[in-house]
Amino acid sequence: MEAVVETEEKQSRGIGEIISIVEALIFVADEPLTVKTLAEVLEEDKETVQAAVEELAQEYEQRESGLQIREIAGGWQLATRTEFHEEVRKFLKTRPSAKLSLAALETLAVIAYKQPATVPEILEIRGVQSASAIKTLLDKKLIVARGRKETVGRPMQYGTSKDFLIQFGLKDLSELPSIEDFEDLAGGV
């Protein structure tokens, strides 16, 4: 044989493969990726990686993708193309409304299990003010006002709504899992 076979650990990659890996890495990264980092992960020299990134960016440009590979804050990032911001924004707004913040979820849990519950009672159990969470839950129609409690300040009482049952797939409140349902499970760990 005429060629000297080098004993390298890594197999040498073609430029096409390098471009694909660069694409995958930029995609999974939380932050814009620098050429330096890419070169380290790939164990390729920076010039090769720089060329690969630029080629990749151009590819996205040429095929009029909905995405772009752009240089930002010294690194490279995958992002949507600005032309489509309207549709993207519209989509982000219509994301499932069944999603709740942790504060709202906590407040909902207290109301579900302690209903009817007043604001001071919820404060007592959660240890934090829950006003905005209660507003969110009322807006999402997961809870309803249930009249005032005949006590100092006559605070409003809240309970879960019919929508709550529907969204959480419950026939009625007796279907809520009880502490006992999970006690065995929790104890058995």
Partner: protein, 256 residues
């Protein structure tokens, strides 16, 4: 505590249980744990190279009991289900020992005492294979990654919720609540004199105190009551006055 759209990765604890025979009567458990008595039985049947449809029940029962004894000597806590199975095996074994002619019926029509066990073993084996398939699927899936966080994720601090989440969250709140109560008990009790002193020092420093904020700072019901009495006292002695700048507005404690 927001939940980023994090990709879970799993590594199934796939250490297969294994029994090594040191000598005729001495078996050694090397690794892992059987997922249940049926799992152990299947293993023993395989080890004995026996036919699942014609289990040599006496031999398998012996092996099974040997394993259980071993577990006990190793001080491994044994699930009750393992003992239930031991009893079942012994029962089948004794039924098998009964002479069949006594019934006077042809052998084919007699119900095999092992029948139910065999059915359960076959059913269990099916799901064991299904579990294996799931394992492999997940292994492949672990080679696929989802995108990193992007800007739109950051303003989306929402969590998906199920009824189980509701219960878990509720239990966490209760646990947190219990901790707080315990902390309160540990706190030293404050006297009215101390509360008066504390309030006076504070009002001299900041000139104005929002009453609502002050009450919210109180760690316990007792402190709250003391603060209330202390304020009444300070108003009475004309050290402070109470202001309300607009109707239903916050009440302000102001140094005279």
């Amino acid at each position: 505590m927001e939940q980023p759209a994090e990709q879970l990765t799993f590594d199934f604890d796939r250490v297969q249980p294994h029994i090594v025979y040191e000598s005729r009567d001495d078996i050694k458990l090397t690794l892992g744990a059987f997922s249940g008595p049926l799992d152990l039985l299947l293993f023993l049947i395989k080890q004995e190279q026996a036919n699942i449809f014609d289990i040599p029940i006496a031999r398998i029962t012996d092996e099974y009991l040997k394993y259980i004894r071993l577990m006990k000597t190793l001080d491994i806590s044994l699930a009750a289900d393992f003992l239930v199975m031991a009893a079942t095996l012994i029962e089948i074994k004794s039924k098998m020992l009964l002479p069949r002619e006594i019934t006077g019926e042809p052998e084919e029509e007699l119900e095999d005492p092992r029948r139910e066990l065999i059915d359960r073993l076959l059913e269990h084996q099916k799901f064991k294979n299904a579990a294996e398939m799931l394992y492999e699927r997940c292994a492949v899936e672990q080679a696929v990654f989802r995108r990193g966080r992007i800007e739109s994720d950051e303003n989306n601090t929402e969590t998906n919720a199920s009824v189980f989440d509701l219960l878990t969250v509720f239990q966490k709140i209760l646990a947190r609540h219990k901790e707080e109560i315990q902390m309160e008990i540990e706190r030293e009790e404050m006297s009215l004199a101390e509360m008066l002193k504390r309030l006076k020092t504070r009002i001299f420093q900041v000139k104005e105190i929002n009453l609502l904020e002050l009450f919210q700072m109180m760690g316990s019901r007792q402190e709250l009551v003391l603060a209330f009495i202390a304020i009444l006292e300070l108003v009475r002695t004309d050290d402070v006055k109470l202001l309300q700048r607009k109707t239903f507005g916050d009440i302000i404690l102001k140094k005279v």
